[in-house]
């Protein structure tokens, strides 16, 4: 099963800050909920894992990442990630990400086009959920990406309110590390503490909800 996703995520950071993250595969991967680069094979090849949660289902993919292109001139990156889960599913993602200047100075836009191919059990049983879950996953990726980019010290602007999640209306404290914690990470390798898995998104709801409702609109 194939899911195509075309997304634009406005960023409250400069294009240079964003590029500092995007050009670093480890940093970018760390923005993906549940993802981590575990090994660098050569200049363009890595091994990594993604743990994602779809309701009660937990999928743990292990596989290969290839950075196919990285162009500082156009601020664009292209990568291919491929992996399999031991319970009989496999997935690949062909991702092209480009940074564009934002409408106002000091802002930028992360433009992503991804083709996700899924085979095996996940495609067979999870097909009705893939689109909404991929959407949510990418939205959280963007959230983390923002936080990571904001943490890049180059001409760091004032902390955007949207990157400070609050669990409004809830009686519990967030247990996942809050993104601003990454601010203390030294440049040029910002490492937002990895989000354990997708479901942690529930804790960042107030942020997330506004984005869905306001900025992104509905999936075409």
């Amino acid at each position: 099963m194939e899911v195509k996703l075309d997304k634009r995520y406005p960023l409250e950071v400069s294009i240079e800050q964003a590029w500092a993250v995007l050009s670093d595969i480890r940093a970018t991967a760390a923005c993906m909920p549940g993802a981590a680069v575990t090994e660098q094979v050569d200049d363009t090849h890595y091994k990594g894992t993604v743990r994602s949660k779809i309701g009660p289902a937990v999928m743990q993919f292990g596989g290969d990442i290839e950075v196919k292109a990285l162009d500082p001139a156009t601020k664009s990156m292209q990568m291919m990630a491929k992996g399999a889960d031991k319970s009989g599913s496999s997935a690949s993602m062909d991702l092209a990400a480009t940074l564009e200047p934002g409408e106002t100075a000091g802002t930028s836009v992360l433009v992503g086009a991804a083709t996700v191919l899924v085979s095996g059990k996940l495609a067979q049983f999870g097909n009705r959920l893939l689109v909404p879950v991929s959407d949510a996953m990418l939205a959280q990726f963007a959230d983390n990406f923002r936080a990571a980019a904001a943490a890049v010290p180059v001409a760091a602007p004032a902390q955007s309110a949207t990157t400070a999640p609050t669990a409004e209306g809830t009686s519990h404290a967030p247990t996942a590390p809050a993104a601003p914690a990454a601010v203390s990470a030294p440049a040029p390798r910002p490492a937002p503490a990895p989000v354990k898995e997708l479901n942690a998104i529930a804790l960042m709801w107030t942020v997330f909800k506004n984005w869905i409702a306001g900025l992104f609109g509905k999936r075409a």
Binding site: M1, E2, A84, K86, S87, G88, S89, S90, L117, V118, S119, G120, K121, A123, Q124, F125, N127
Partner: protein, 804 residues
């Protein structure tokens, strides 16, 4: 049969519960008390459990298989891969269709859920844990799912093992993904008919891939005794004797040391004809481990990997006169056979009996061509509750006749009556060479049209069409089908060289009870009940004291099994013929006991009477006793017989089905308002069971036409392989069925019976489609692809501009 009128005779006849009696089923006692003996109920000492590692990909190369983690799982005793089977030459196996199929993937997987490795463990939980721990590394290959795409010159090569083979079991291969091209009929004659015909119609139609999905999945318990060198396998097989032959040929174990037992089977419908990798692996595992090994498929595995049916892309053409007389038929089929050609057809017929596609009609010239193609889907091509590819054939011709009627503006009943083979034309040889045994189509059609008030229905439909505010469309589907069943005459039909006869062995015990052993195997058809009834009528022994046994190759005579409605036409004849041998011997004994000549005796229900003096008689019970102590000189003791019945011809059951549907213009929901099914299966052995078989077949037909589908995405993932998605209707969705019958016995069958259980499946599917399409006929629609789900029907409503 001449029905006696004398009350005393009637009483004696009724006491037999013979043919024509709605005798209650003998097999029910165990089933209603939870005492059935299905394969998963079998437990042998020291038994191991096997589970299967399957491919998540539809087409991929296997780069490595790592068993080490699996072998660490507590309870796992072995993991087998193709490499382990290679020394035994069992990593590939021959199929019934003359191809080979991988037992465990040999370097490459060809369809999603293909068997890659097996895990054997001390219990089924450990085996499942082991499956998850086997690590397989794949390299994906391009997937080919469309048979037309598969035949393009640059299509990926699916079967690398066949590289360079320019001919297969059924003639030349013209492309690396091509299996065979099979033709029937007279092309020149058909082309000539079309060249000069005033009217022609053509229609492309697709009969989608479906799965028989019996409630019990496939499975087996293989038990090899290393001391005796004997292999016993309990398995869900519709053809245990053929399996024994195949197992013996594959394993090298003498056939005499192989015992296949089909225990109670929880429905087959064609799913349990084939030999699957799971069986072979369980057998190998049992031989390797010296312990019994059980393998039971789960539902996802069942739908995904064993025995699909149909998947025919058909182009039909009819040539006709302007007043609707059909002059010629041409059919071109592209058949998607999946990764391996494992169709379960008589060996010489790669497209089964598809050439019955001239149907119930007197068509002077006809030709058909079927092209078999490999794709990245599971193998199968079984006859899902039908005779070999007869469902596809009936669908084709019945749809084509409707298309012609719509083009000519003729009534769909009228055009059929006009083209029917007339009663006096039987035996009738079709343009494809089938010799139809008997039929009376006009009488049956008129009976149905009267029963449903056909004219009034058409008037109601016309009024509905005229009303722009009508919330529902109304469709009337009419199908007048003829099947060809009872394969088959050995001059035409064989499986792996074994003629498609069937067999019966009868022993009459001294006290007058009897046992009949058969080469078939029941899967719910009630053989234990109905076979006894044939014997009861033939021999005058009460059904109640007749034991029927089947399914154990060590006791039953060799037979080809139960599928394609062959049990009654072939084994039912065998039982009558064997009984007649006993009857002839009994007459000799009776004559001896009564001290008269054989010709001085009259047979009467359960006894021989001396002609003109019925007070002097010997009952079959008397004779049975005498057979073991007082036989005429020169006659052997005992009273038993064996008969291997090789039918002289197929039988040709027929039926007239009519369906009325109402389609909600807002949602596409299609409600079956009425379904009337008239069947003619010749002589009726047990009307209660026939009625039950028809209800069941109609319900399966309803499921196929209205909901069953096996959709694949572009990567070859089969979507919808649990019962959440795969449509098995519940009591709520299932329509109410009205049944009726006429009786036109088969002239060549010993008791005139033709077989019935599959007619309602074969006949009802095109009836539902006809009804749904008919609802749109006034809008110019001639074809809609099954299944007619609300969603698809709604799409047609939108396309035709009538959605609310």
């Amino acid at each position: 049969m001449n029905a006696p009128t004398d009350p005393k005779l009637l009483e004696r006849k009724d006491a037999l519960q013979g043919m024509g009696d709605s005798r209650l089923r003998k097999e029910d006692a165990r089933f209603i008390q939870g005492k059935g003996n299905y394969v998963d109920d079998i437990k042998l000492p020291g038994m191991m459990h096997m589970d299967i590692v399957r491919s998540p990909y539809a087409h991929a190369r296997i780069k490595s298989i790592d068993k080490s983690e699996a072998l660490k799982v507590p309870g796992v005793v072995a993991v087998l891969t193709a490499e382990d089977l290679k020394p035994l030459k069992l990593h590939w196996m021959p199929t019934l269709a003359g191809d080979v199929a991988a037992v465990l993937a040999d370097g490459k997987v060809h369809f999603q859920m293909q068997e890659v490795a097996v895990v054997i463990a001390t219990d089924r939980y450990a085996a499942a844990d082991g499956v998850e721990a086997v690590q397989v590394e794949y390299e994906e290959l391009p997937v080919v799912l469309d048979p037309y795409e598969a035949l393009k010159p640059d299509a990926p090569v699916l079967r690398e093992d066949l590289a360079g083979k320019t001919s297969g079991a059924h003639g030349p291969r013209e492309h690396h993904n091509h299996i065979f091209t099979w033709t029937a009929g007279d092309k020149a004659a058909a082309d000539a008919a079309f060249a000069s015909a005033p009217v022609t119609v053509s229609q492309h139609m697709f009969y989608p891939r479906v799965h028989p999905c019996p409630l019990e999945t496939c499975g087996c318990v293989a038990s090899f005794d290393p001391v005796r060198g004997e292999l016993t396998t309990f398995m869900t097989s519709q053809a245990p004797h053929v399996v024994r032959t195949v197992v013996s040929l594959l394993s090298g174990i003498p056939e005499s040391k192989v015992r296949i037992v089909s225990p109670d089977i929880g429905g087959g419908f064609g799913n349990k004809v084939g030999v699957y990798p799971g069986y072979v692996c369980a057998i190998v595992a049992s031989i390797v481990l010296g312990k019994p090994v059980k393998w039971i498929e789960d539902r996802v595995e069942n739908i995904s990997s064993t025995a699909f049916a149909r998947d025919y892309h058909m182009d039909g053409e009819l040539a006709a006169t302007p007043d609707g007389k059909i002059l010629g038929l041409r059919v071109d089929v592209v058949a998607d056979h999946g990764a391996f050609d494992a169709c379960a057809d008589p060996t010489k017929f790669p497209a089964g009996l598809f050439h019955i596609c001239s149907g119930s009609y007197d068509i002077p010239a006809a030709h058909c061509s079927v092209k078999g193609v490999y794709t990245n889907k599971a193998p199968g091509g079984v006859a899902y509750r039908c005779s070999f590819r007869v469902t596809e054939a009936v669908y084709l011709i019945e749809r084509m006749v409707d298309v012609l009627a719509q083009k000519l503006g003729m009534d769909k009943a009228e055009i059929r009556a006009k083209n029917f083979i007339r009663k006096e034309q039987f035996p009738y040889t079709s343009a494809f060479g089938f010799e139809y045994d008997s039929g009376d189509y006009h009488t049956a059609l008129n009976k149905v049209l009267d029963a449903v008030g056909y004219k009034a229905l058409r008037a109601e439909q016309a009024a509905r069409r005229a009303d722009p505010n009508a919330t529902h469309l109304m469709g009337i589907g009419l199908v007048t089908f003829t099947e060809v069943v009872g394969a088959g005459p050995s001059k035409m039909c064989d499986i792996l060289g074994v003629g498609m006869f069937d067999s019966c062995e009868i022993r009459i015990h001294p006290t007058g009870s009897a046992i009949a052993r058969m080469g078939t195997i029941t899967q719910g058809q009630g053989h234990q009940t109905t076979y006894a009834q044939i014997l009861a009528t033939e021999l005058g022994i009460p059904s109640e004291v007749i034991q029927v046994e089947e399914g154990d190759t060590s006791t039953a005579p060799y037979g080809l099994g139960t599928y394609g409605s062959r049990s009654t036409p072939v084994a039912g004849a065998a039982i009558a013929m064997a009984a007649r041998k006993i009857h002839a011997k009994a007459r000799k004994i009776a004559a001896h006991l009564l001290e008269v000549g054989e010709n001085d005796l009259d047979w009467e229900i359960d006894r021989f009477n001396v002609k003109g003096d019925p007070a002097r008689h010997k009952t079959m019970k008397d004779i049975a006793w005498a057979a073991y102590n007082n036989v005429p000189a020169g006659l052997e003791m005992g009273l038993e017989a064996v008969h291997y019945y090789d039918p002289p011809n197929f039988t040709y059951p027929f039926g007239i089905y009519l369906c009325v549907v109402d389609i909600d213009r807002a949602t596409g929901e299609t409600k079956v308002r009425r379904f009337y099914a008239l069947d003619d299966c010749g002589t009726r052995i047990n009307p209660m069971i026939i009625e039950g078989q028809i209800h069941g077949g109609l319900t399966e037909g309803f499921a196929v036409a209205m909901g069953q589908q096996m959709p694949f995405d572009a990567q070859g993932n089969l979507l919808g392989n649990t019962l959440m998605d795969y449509f098995l209707p519940t009591a709520v969705e299932t329509p109410h069925w009205e049944t009726d019958h006429t009786v036109t016995p088969s002239p060549h069958h010993p008791i005139g019976a033709k077989g019935v259980a599959e007619s309602p499946h074969v006949g009802s599917i095109p009836t539902f489609t006809a009804a749904v399409v008919d609802a749109f006929a006034h809008l110019g629609v001639t074809d809609m692809t099954m299944p007619h789900t609300s969603y698809r029907v709604w799409q047609q409503l939108v396309k035709s501009g009538v959605a609310l």
